[in-house]
Symmetry: C2
Subunit: 220 residues, 2 copies
């Protein structure tokens, strides 16, 4: 059969599963060099992991880090921080073994019944109500917002009002309406932040940044 | 404070949450037109939803559909198909209300203990073993592979051997090693498929394609 013949002519590289990530990172480093992109050493592991998760080298240009953001994030995770996400997808993408090793946890309140009720009562959205609930968490908290600009805007407002003091805000929502603006807002604040400027981002990017920080913190 | 002043000057568009998706889709349609991209009517809802989820217009060029792939996918979901993913992240990103409305379910065997044991016993990977387990499912099955090229390659082999007869394979793994090749392999087979050619893809893209099909099938 023609299709079987075609299938047989596809050549797969013989790489053991645990070597695939190393090999991928080598390719990423090589191509960054070819594009004359030099990454600051402190942020390179995060940028490379986001490129690894997206195959999109644009992030080498769009990821912005406030001073000491990476350091603050790593330290918080070493102290057993809670990561708050705005989607269950980002939550699912964070390495749970690494979280457990560091005594960290990840929560997402978007599907929370209490949050749904609070949103309805206040005439607001679940994204907003979930941030208000998360603002009451005790201990070090890292926010990872990969989807809802409304969540990120509310979080920024709470931070300006000092109703929440996150160790780090990862602001990488994706999309076309209020997304760019919500990230500009975060980038203008003195809160430690990692932002993907522009339209791109997503739950996968939010999870990748969390994982890069977890691994640097000793989670694997 | 300067930062508060900056924050106040960021202008957010006043759009109600349920209008954000409509407004996003309008922007996507407008920009596709500006780029002189015309989408075939049958695939437009899927391409637009992938762009919506990634803010990446490259997918208008890289998404390939075999003949009747969309039709087959929709029909399978209307018959209560099981969607098999290769990550819990993709599973979490699929609209569970839409699944329930159509009597569909989504499964991911990657974290399955039985799969881990089978992989160890056979000296293979969990990605491979999870596909072998999924091949034994009864009823209509749609595969959505957004991460592991090894899973996609094994699935293609099983399909060629007629050990599995999926209604549709969504092949959108992301990355740098064997990813392009695994998608070329799928594209060469007579199995109904939707493929994101090239390096890009991901669990978010896999979930977006499933959601677009679920919505077209009447899931909302």
């Amino acid at each position: 059969m023609q299709q079987e013949k075609n299938a047989q002519t596809i050549r797969l590289r013989q790489v053991l599963p645990d070597q695939i990530e190393q090999e991928s990172m080598r390719i990423i480093v090589r191509e960054l060099k070819q594009q004359n992109i030099t990454l600051d050493e402190s942020v390179a592991p995060i940028v490379k992991r986001v490129i690894h998760t997206s195959a999109d080298f644009e992030y080498a240009h769009t990821l912005h880090f406030s001073a000491n953001a990476v350091e603050r994030g790593i330290k918080a995770l070493q102290q057993g921080a809670t990561i708050v996400t705005d989607t269950n997808m980002a939550k699912a993408g964070i390495n749970h073994k690494a979280l457990a090793k560091l005594g960290c946890q990840v929560v997402c309140f978007m599907a929370d019944e209490e949050v749904a009720a609070a949103a309805k009562a206040a005439g607001t959205t679940r994204a907003v109500a979930s941030m208000e609930k998360a603002a009451k968490l005790s201990g070090p908290v890292v926010f990872a917002i990969g989807n809802a600009p409304t969540a990120l805007v509310r979080l920024c407002q709470l931070a300006v009002q000092q109703a929440v003091s996150p160790e780090l805000i990862i602001g990488v929502p994706v999309g076309f309406v209020n997304v760019v603006e919500s990230k500009q807002l975060l980038a203008s604040l003195p809160v430690p932040h990692i932002v993907a400027m522009g339209r791109k981002g997503g739950s996968n990017v939010a999870a990748a940044i969390c994982n890069a920080l977890l691994y640097q913190a000793g989670g694997r």
